[in-house]
């Protein structure tokens, strides 16, 4: 249960970056590596799903999918994901990791600690990407 919600959260981050990359050509090159790191996190989380668990289709989320729920700050469908939105999402993700680790398996806990560290770095690194 925990793992699937972690995967869902990560899919949302990947999708947010996909939207930002698609909608902001000026920042696309700068943001794409961030998206790729999240995609790597997503892959690592999915790898922890029990093998053959038919209940969890591991369909790769299309990068620029607009089907995912927009961030709370997105008022309309046209509103473009800003760098600040990404930064907020990263910050929330990183600060949620410690609590998520409390009940996780040792392997997942360790993975989440590393993912959270990457997200914390992203918060700072996004400060260098012009909105």
């Amino acid at each position: 249960m925990l793992l699937t919600s972690l995967i869902t959260g990560k899919e949302h981050l990947v999708s947010l970056y996909g939207q930002a990359v698609a909608a902001r050509p000026a920042q696309a090159a700068a943001l794409e590596p961030f998206r790729q790191r999240h995609a790597a996190h997503l892959q690592a989380l999915r790898a922890l799903l029990p093998a053959g668990g038919g209940t969890f289709p591991a369909s790769p989320a299309p990068p620029a999918s607009s089907s995912a729920a927009p961030s709370p700050s997105a008022v309309s469908a046209v509103s473009v994901v800003s760098v600040e939105t990404l930064r907020d999402a990263e910050r929330r993700a990183a600060s949620a990791r410690p609590a998520q680790m409390a009940t996780a398996s040792p392997a997942l806990s360790q993975l989440l600690a590393s993912i959270g560290a990457c997200e914390a770095v992203h918060v700072v690194a996004l400060g260098r990407v012009r909105d």
């Binding site: 590596p33 790729q36 790191r37 999240h38 790597a40 996190h41 690592a44 990183a94 990791r97 410690p98 609590a99 680790m101 409390a102 009940t103 398996s105 040792p106 392997a107 806990s109 360790q110 993975l111 989440l112 600690a113 590393s114 993912i115 959270g116 560290a117 990457c118 997200e119 914390a120 770095v121 992203h122 918060v123 700072v124 690194a125 260098r128």
Partner: protein
């Protein structure tokens, strides 16, 4: 124990805590060296890092004592992975130290004690962020895991480099004058010295 049937939890609480303390001891030592070879903005960064690691070290000591253990004392000296002569070397060492301490905290993050996991998670985030502050470049999506891109090249922290003009001359041996030329660190830093972390043998790929 029963809930982790799939995971042979070989490391009881004490070990990971002890290793985290050892890593912090080494970090405090290294930051002493780093502070001695930097000036201006870099020295400020070094001082902040020193203080942060000292605080974590004290926290870990207290935790170990409270659990009935005996916290290890720091070694009298530590073998640095390469000679630190210039600010660029100091930056490279700082990045390496932060990566190693991050790794130690990732081990602690797998502990059974949720309080230690929490501490480890927060400390790992701080270490990774500090490493980025020294060298603003992200290679590895999994900080501290030792997979792939643990690349410690000596690309200097660019903001630190540009703020370096007002050097206080705190470093002896004219270290301050080297700060501006730290861009060339990759080429001339400690020739022939082993710059890789000794635990790099673990890196599978």
């Amino acid at each position: 124990m029963t809930e982790s049937a799939a995971e042979p939890s070989k490391a009881p609480t004490g070990d990971a805590l002890d290793r985290a303390l050892s890593a912090e001891h080494a970090a405090v030592y290294a930051y002493g060296v780093i502070g001695g070879k930097t000036s201006g903005a870099l020295l400020k960064r070094a001082t902040a890092g020193f203080d942060a690691h000292r605080a974590r070290r004290d926290q870990l000591r207290t935790l170990i004592t409270r659990r009935g253990g005996t916290p290890a004392e720091p070694g009298p000296t530590y073998l640095l992975p390469f000679e630190v002569r210039k600010p660029a070397d100091a930056v490279r060492l700082a990045v390496l130290v932060e990566q190693r301490v991050t790794t130690a905290y990732l081990e602690l993050a797998a502990d059974r004690d949720p309080a230690l996991r929490r501490l480890a998670a927060l400390a790992a985030q701080e270490c990774a962020t500090r490493a980025y502050g020294w060298q603003p470049k992200i290679g590895d999506p999994f900080p501290g895991m030792g997979r792939g891109g643990a690349d410690v090249d000596a690309a200097p922290a660019e903001e630190a480099g540009s703020e370096e003009a007002g050097s206080e001359g705190a470093g002896s041996e004219g270290a301050g004058s080297d700060a501006a030329s730290s861009e060339s660190a990759g080429a001339d830093a400690a020739p022939g010295q082993e710059a890789r972390p000794e635990q790099s043998a673990q890196g599978g790929q």
